[in-house]
């Protein structure tokens, strides 16, 4: 063994190599699958706030539309009732 065998900062003279504990392809693929699932989950979760806003807005418009519809219907019904009442009270001739 040469004197400078353990020469500082020289990897070339290192007297042995290291090896990793081998990880199988199945292990690597399983790890990636989990990452992929989490990424997909993250993407869906990132859409949630937007979906929430859309849902709130849609609910609001639905509420307004339903309110308008029922109020309108009620008014028509009331008008109709009033007309009938007027017909009963005054007779056809005076309705004109």
């Amino acid at each position: 063994m040469p004197d400078n065998f353990w020469e500082e900062n020289s990897g070339e003279n290192f007297p042995f190599q290291f090896r990793h504990k081998p990880s199988t392809e199945a292990h690597r693929n399983a790890n990636w699958s989990s990452i992929e699932n989490r990424i997909t989950g993250q993407q869906l979760r990132s859409i949630y706030p937007m979906l929430k806003h859309i849902l709130i807005a849609a609910s609001f418009f639905l509420l307004v539309a339903l309110t308008y519809f029922f109020v309108n219907q009620n008014v028509n019904q009331n008008l109709h009732s009033t007309e009938q009442y007027a017909i009963v009270q005054t007779g056809f001739g005076e309705m004109k």
Binding site: M1, F5, W6, E7, E8, N9, G11, E12, F14, P15, F16, Q17, F18, R19, H20, K21, P22, S23, H27, R28, N31, W32, S34, I35, E36, R38, I39, Q42
Partner: protein, 201 residues
């Protein structure tokens, strides 16, 4: 070294594509770096499940934050540094939760004889002696040796990963090699070295 720069070019291409949202490029990046990252995490955490999760967390975080990350020049050291930081944060969180952990400031890498290759692979005693020798080194020196000789990183890359300057890496390597050279085991190693030819890098 040429191979390293070629690899880095390829990794950079994948990384740039991944930042644009190309999941296939991100997968290629994962497949290329997984073995090393997992082994490094396993060295730092000494737990297979946690190491798996650490690598997963790293890739998920990088994917989520891909747009806001700065451009990088060296992909491999960047991933190693991010993984190391993440593991240290994990230990910090455990400490905040008052969970007792064995180490915090500095991960303690342990070398096992099976990881050490000598020409005469059947020489388990020699492998064992070398691993004992390496495990006697201080934690930071062990990590430098690991990154340098397991992962074939240069001083600049190790400095980036460990968050220390170039000179510190150089000093740590020198000290580690001095210690290995001066160790009592060396005489045995020298006598046994005639029995095998060293494996070239």
């Amino acid at each position: 070294m040429l191979q390293d720069s070629h690899n880095n070019e390829q990794l950079l291409q994948w990384w740039r594509a991944a930042r644009e949202g190309d999941v296939h490029a991100f997968k290629a990046l994962h497949h290329h770096l997984f073995e090393g990252l997992y082994a490094y995490a396993l060295k730092l955490l000494d737990d297979e499940t946690l190491s798996n999760e650490a690598v997963q967390d790293l890739f998920v975080k990088l994917w989520v934050k891909k747009k806001s990350l700065h451009s990088i020049q060296q992909v491999k050291p960047y991933f190693y540094a991010a993984l190391r930081k993440q593991i240290l944060n994990y230990f910090r969180d455990l400490k905040l939760k008052n969970i007792k952990i064995q180490f915090f400031q500095q991960p303690n890498i342990e070398f096992s004889p099976e990881e050490i290759i000598v020409k005469k692979e059947s020489d388990f005693i020699l492998q064992q002696k070398i691993s004992i020798l390496l495990n006697q080194l201080p934690k930071r020196q062990k990590e430098v040796i690991y990154l340098r000789y397991f992962e074939n990183m240069d001083n600049q890359q190790i400095a980036e990963i460990m968050g220390i300057n170039y000179q510190s890496v150089s000093n740590l390597t020198q000290k580690a090699l001095h210690k290995l050279r001066d160790a009592k085991m060396l005489s045995t190693l020298i006598s046994l070295s005639f029995l095998f030819q060293f494996v070239k890098n």
